[in-house]
Amino acid sequence: MRVAIVNTQVLFVRGGAEYLAETLAHQIREMGHEAEIINIPFRWYPAEMIPRHMLAARLLKIDAGITPDLMIGLKFPSYLVPFPNKKLWLLHQHRQAYELWDTPYADIPDTPEGRAIRQMIIKADNLYLSEATEIYTNSKIVAGRLERFNGISAKAVLYPPLLQPEIYHAGEFGNYFFYPSRMTSGKRQELAIQAMRYVKSNFKLVLAGKPDGETYGKHLNSLIERYRLQDRVVMLGYISDEEKARWMAGACAALYIPFDEDSYGYVTLEAFHSYKPVITLTDSGGTDEVIEHEWNGLILQPEAKALAEGMEKLWSDRKRTQEMGEAAYQTLSKHHIRWENVLDNLLS
C-alpha cells in the first residue's frame, strides 16, 4: 500500500504535529508499506491569509505522478486537499474559528471581515470534512468539538503513541521539575516561571525547547531577569531526544501546562514512560483524558500560586510522588496507547 500523509507546514517550526507525521510514516513503513509526508505551508495571520491557504489546499494535487492508495490528513487546512480515498486522523481544526473564538487566543478579529472568514472556515469544514471516508481524532476533546461545531461524528479516538518509547526510562528523583515543549504563548512557560516566584523550597524549573519566534524566547528571558530567577530557572533551548530522556528520567515530576490543548501532548507520554507524574492545569484541555488528579499527576487551577503549591507538594512527599510515577506508567496500557491500535484502524 502507498500512503500519503498530508500535513500542514508551519515554516521554521517543528512541533508535535511534525513529529506525529514522521512517526506515523515510520510505523507504516515498518509494516512494509510505502509512506510519504506531503507538507503544505500555512500562515493564518492576519486572518485574511486564511482563505488564500484554504484555496491553495483545494487546488493542489497530491497524486502528481504515482497515485497513492490512501491519504491521511492531519490538520487544517491541508486536510482540505481533495482525494478519493481520504481518511483523517484529526489533530485539530482551525481552533481560532471554533472554541478559541471569544478568548484572548483568538486572532481572527470580531469585525464583519473577521466574522466572514470564520464562517468560511466553518463552512469549508462542514463541506469538505465529509469527503473523508473515515475520521479519527487524537483525543476525545477533538472528537467532541467536531460533533458540537460541525455535527460530524468521529469513528474513534486513536491516541498517538511515542516514536521511540524505549529511550525513556526511570531514573533518580531529582531536584527539578521538567517542562520540555515548543516555547510559545499557548504552552504557557511564562506561568511556570511566574510560579517559581512563590516557591520556597530549593528545587529548580528546567525548560527545554526552541522558541517559535525570537520574540517569545526574549520575553521569557526578560521575565527570569525581572524576577531574579536566574538561579532557579534553567533554559536549555533545543535538546536532542536522548538528552530529553535523560533530563526526564532525573526529574522530580514533569509539567505540561498548555492552554486548552487538543491532546495530552507528547510530554505527558514521555513522563509516563519515565515513571514520572505530570502536573497539568484545569484548562489545559486534552491532558485530563489521561491524567487523573492525585493518581498519576496533579490537575491544578491555572494560577501561579496553585502551581507553586503543587510543585512543593510533589517535592516534599517523595514517597507519594514515586507511587504516582508507577501509576503514570500503568496509564499507557490502560488507554491502549499503542501503534498497532492506530495502524489497524487507519490502514484497514
Partner: protein, 350 residues
C-alpha cells in the same frame, strides 16, 4: 539569524523526483550557518492542471513565520517562482518544457489547437510576470539563460552551475579497459548511440553501462539492439549501483560518456567524471554539456553518429597519455567554472 527559505515543486513517491538539488542546497545553506527551511510542493505537471496549481502556489504566503520575517526565498523548480517574496531569488532549472523549447517536437504534449495555444500564452505570461519579481535569477546552464531571453525576454544574472552533492566520493584512479556511461537508460540519454558505436570498435576495450532502464519496453529494445549489433561481449550492463561503487567505476575508466540529446545542463555524471580526473565524450547536440566540455581539451565533442563516437573512443584508447592529460584539465574545469557550493551560497543567499 538570517532565515532562508528554499521552495521547489516535486513529484511525490518518485525517487529523484527533482529534489536532489533542493536537498543539497538545504544542507549547504545550513552548513553555512543560516536558519533554513524548505517548502516542497507536490506538482502534477499535466498541462491542463498547471495553471490552477500555479494559482495555488501564488496563494501561499511564505514571507513571515511565527511573527518573524523570512529574509530570503530561493525558488528552484517551476512554478515555485510564483511565490511572492520581497527578496526572491531564482535558481532556475527548467521551464515546463513542452510549452517552451519542446513545442513543435515529438515531446510536445500540449494540444496544437485553440485551447493548447491559449494555455501556452497564459503560461508564458504568468511565468514572465512572476519571474520579473525576482531580485536575482541564476540558471544552471547557458542554454537556460538563452531560453529565458528567448521566451520570457528576461536577462538572467548569470549561470550558477550546480556542484555535486557528494563530490568527496569521486577521486582519480587508474585507466582500465572500459568507457563508462552512467545515467538512467532511456531514449533521450542515447545509450543506444554508444552501443551502436561498439560495432565499429576494433580495439579490445569495453562499454560499461551503469543505471536502470526506465521501462521494460525500452529494456527489450536495448537488448535487441545489442543483439543486432553483435556486441554482446563488448557491452556490460551493471544496472543500478551504489554511489561508492559508481565512484570506483568512474575512477578507473578511460573516459566517460554524456551523449544525451539537448539537455538543460551538463548532468551529474559529467561532474563525477571531472572530479575523477576523466575526460568526457559528448555530442554536438547534447545541449548543457557544451557549457563545460571543450573538444580536445577536457573531452571530445563529436557528431551524434555511431562511427564518430567509435572513433572518439579509439582515439583516447590509442593515446592514453593524452586521455590522462585531458582528465587533468577536466578536473581543473571545476574550479575554472567555479562549480562550488561556496559560490552557490554567495550568489543565492549573501
Amino acid at each position: 539569524m538570517t532565515r532562508v527559505l528554499i521552495a521547489s515543486t516535486y513529484v511525490p513517491f518518485i525517487k529523484g523526483g527533482g529534489t536532489a538539488i533542493v536537498d543539497s542546497l538545504e544542507a549547504t545553506v545550513r552548513k553555512h550557518g543560516y536558519d533554513v527551511d524548505t517548502v516542497r510542493i507536490p506538482l502534477r505537471s499535466y498541462w491542463r492542471e498547471l495553471l490552477s496549481q500555479t494559482l495555488a502556489i501564488r496563494s501561499l504566503d511564505v514571507t513571515n513565520a511565527s511573527g518573524d520575517n523570512v529574509d530570503t526565498l530561493i525558488t528552484i523548480r517551476y512554478p515555485s517562482f510564483a511565490l511572492q517574496h520581497p527578496n526572491k531569488r531564482m535558481w532556475f532549472i527548467h521551464h515546463h518544457r513542452t510549452a517552451y523549447d519542446l513545442w513543435g517536437t515529438p515531446y510536445q504534449d500540449v494540444t496544437n489547437d485553440a485551447e493548447g495555444l491559449h494555455f501556452r500564452e497564459m503560461l508564458k505570461k504568468s511565468d514572465t510576470l512572476y519571474m520579473r519579481e525576482a531580485r536575482k535569477i541564476y540558471t544552471i546552464s547557458k542554454v537556460l539563460v538563452n531560453r529565458l531571453k528567448q521566451f520570457n525576454d528576461i536577462d538572467a544574472d548569470g549561470v550558477l552551475y550546480h556542484p555535486l552533492p557528494n563530490a568527496e566520493l569521486f577521486k582519480a584512479g587508474g585507466q582500465g579497459d572500459y568507457f563508462l556511461f552512467t545515467s538512467r537508460i532511456n531514449s533521450i540519454k542515447r545509450q543506444s548511440l554508444a552501443i551502436e558505436a561498439m560495432q565499429y570498435v576494433r580495439s579490445d576495450f569495453k562499454l560499461l553501462l551503469v543505471g536502470k532502464t526506465e521501462t521494460d519496453e525500452y529494456e527489450r529494445e536495448v537488448q535487441a539492439l545489442v543483439e543486432r549489433c553483435g556486441v554482446k561481449d563488448k557491452v556490460i550492463f551493471k544496472g543500478w549501483v551504489s554511489e561508492e561503487e559508481k565512484a570506483i567505476l568512474t575512477a578507473n575508466c578511460v573516459a566517460a560518456f554524456y551523449l544525451a540529446y539537448d539537455e538543460d545542463s551538463y548532468g551529474y555524471s559529467t561532474l563525477e567524471a571531472f572530479h575523477s580526473h576523466k575526460p568526457v565524450i559528448t555530442c554536438t547536440d547534447s545541449g548543457g554539456t557544451l557549457d563545460v566540455i571543450v573538444d580536445g581539451q577536457n573531452g571530445l565533442v563529436v557528431q551524434p553518429t555511431p562511427k564518430a563516437v567509435a572513433q572518439a573512443m579509439e582515439q583516447l584508447w590509442a593515446k592514453k597519455a593524452l586521455a590522462a592529460e585531458m582528465g587533468q584539465d577536466a578536473y581543473e574545469t571545476i574550479s575554472r567554472h567555479q562549480i562550488t557550493w561556496d559560490r552557490v551560497v554567495d550568489c543565492l543567499v549573501s
